[in-house]
Amino acid sequence: MSAHNARVHELRALDTLSAGQTAIHRLHPLAKLICTMTIVICTVSFGPYDFIRLVPYLFYPFIMMSIAELPYRLLLSRVLIALPFCLFAGISNVIFNRSIALTIGSMNISFGVLSLFTILLKMYLCVMAALLLVATTPFTELTTQLRWMRIPYIFVMVFEMTYRYIAVLLEEAYSMTTAYRLRSGSKKAIEMRHMGSFVGQMLLRGFDRAERVYTAMACRGYSLKHIPFAKRKMTGVDFAFLSAVFISCVLIRVINLR
């Protein structure tokens, strides 16, 4: 399998994971959605130097991953995609804010470095929470849940189409690069002069595919204006999970041991 093909499969792999049958997968999507939002809001609301206070949140991804039997490396590789952006945001602090924040042994850590690590940890926690949600909940259940929460139809639609579009786009890109390579001698990369039409074609084809997939869904009665699955009620287990996560998140946020 070529590197690119592997990447396409990885992207779809999240989809495949979401079909698992573990206790976490069986939880009500609304419970998982609220937990994810709680984690994201709590982590983001911490100050720029609160690295230590964020550490307890790491329990969430680790516990979830082990119960839901998710492959750690796959999720981690996904988190790394967001890394460059955070490094970019944090690196200027390292340069400009050099006053000493704390000393560990003989090593001085500046406020800049501390804030960089805090940003990275926040990023890790938020992206991980989102990935855990996607990897344990089928996508259609998520969108219907968002609709049920009265998120306007147009936002959910865009969310949904983006998700499907990225997947088919990668698949199209894969088959097009393969076809290109087979006819271009042994060249590894696409030549610059072909790049324009290549990318254009890829976007158009991806759009075409996404539209056909959407048509097929519509043919079987799918429409975001009509909300299916909403009949499913939250059970005691769902409430227990939700309150456990919610209360611990809020406690970690509020209690300051220092």
């Binding site: 499969h9 779809r12 989809d15 495949t16 994971l17 979401s18 079909a19 089928p138 259609t140 499907r164 595919r209 056909r212 997939v213 048509t215 097929a216 869904m217 519509a218 043919c219 079987r220 009665g221 799918y222 429409s223 009509h226 299916p228 699955f229 009949k231």
Partner: protein, 230 residues
């Protein structure tokens, strides 16, 4: 069962893909739709399920006219199997893909399970239930795509090139499976012998127009096939 009156499809760029077509299909009838590439077969099928907005004319299913405001009902009566099964399978597991339509129509989960299992055993694909559509062969995908439509128990089934990408054995199995389905079928295909085995009647299209409508033996008429560019 199905009545089509003066159906015309003109795409936004001006291409007239279907030109004043009229025909009807009665209950339990299997009809083949034949025509060269670009003759307008896919466009015709899409118009019947109400997907194309660029259409004019009248389509009646049972005694309901297909309109934008009753598409939800129409789509329980008429099911379409797409040319490319990849377009039709988008859930993580085949089981969820087959259940997708029923869930959209608010069936209870026990009902859904029963219907899905029944449909899968009818097509002999029970073993695929927990598999991901990405990892199936072309023939398996085709059967799964048919199951997604069949599970809704529609009165009329539309097929767009069902034998594409199938090996001879999968093709024979498909013929056997389709023969057993009691529903009316309209099957767009380039596979003339497939059409002859399955259908009693044929519609021949050429450049958007309905060139001929009659007994399947029309497929032995060299002049008609020649005019249709086949």
């Amino acid at each position: 069962m199905l009545i089509v009156n003066d159906l015309t499809v003109v795409y936004q760029d001006g291409t007239c893909a279907v030109d004043n077509v009229r025909f009807s299909i009665s209950t339990n009838e299997n009809v083949a739709l034949i025509g060269a590439n670009g003759a307008g077969k896919t466009s015709l099928l899409l118009a019947l399920v109400g997907v194309l907005e660029e259409k004019s004319g009248e389509i009646l299913i049972g005694d309901t006219i297909v309109e934008n405001n009753n598409l939800r009902d129409i789509r329980t009566k008429i099911g379409m199997v797409f040319q490319n099964p990849d377009d039709q399978l988008f859930m993580p597991r085949i089981y969820d893909d087959i259940a997708f339509g029923l869930r959209n129509y608010d069936f209870d989960e026990p009902d859904v399970e029963q219907q899905v299992n029944y449909t899968m055993s009818r097509l002999g694909i029970e073993h695929l239930a927990q598999r991901s559509p990405l990892k199936l062969s072309g023939g398996e995908k085709r059967l799964a795509a048919i199951a997604t439509v069949l599970v809704m128990s529609p009165d009329l089934l539309l097929f767009d090139e069902p034998t594409a990408h199938l090996d001879p054995r999968a093709r024979r199995n498909l013929i056997a499976t389709l023969t057993e389905l009691p529903q009316s079928k309209l099957i767009a295909t380039h596979d003339l012998s497939f059409a002859e085995e399955l259908c009693s009647r044929v519609l021949i299209m050429h450049e958007g127009k309905l060139l001929a409508d009659g007994d399947i033996s029309l497929l032995n008429d060299a002049t008609i096939l020649d005019t249709a560019g086949l």
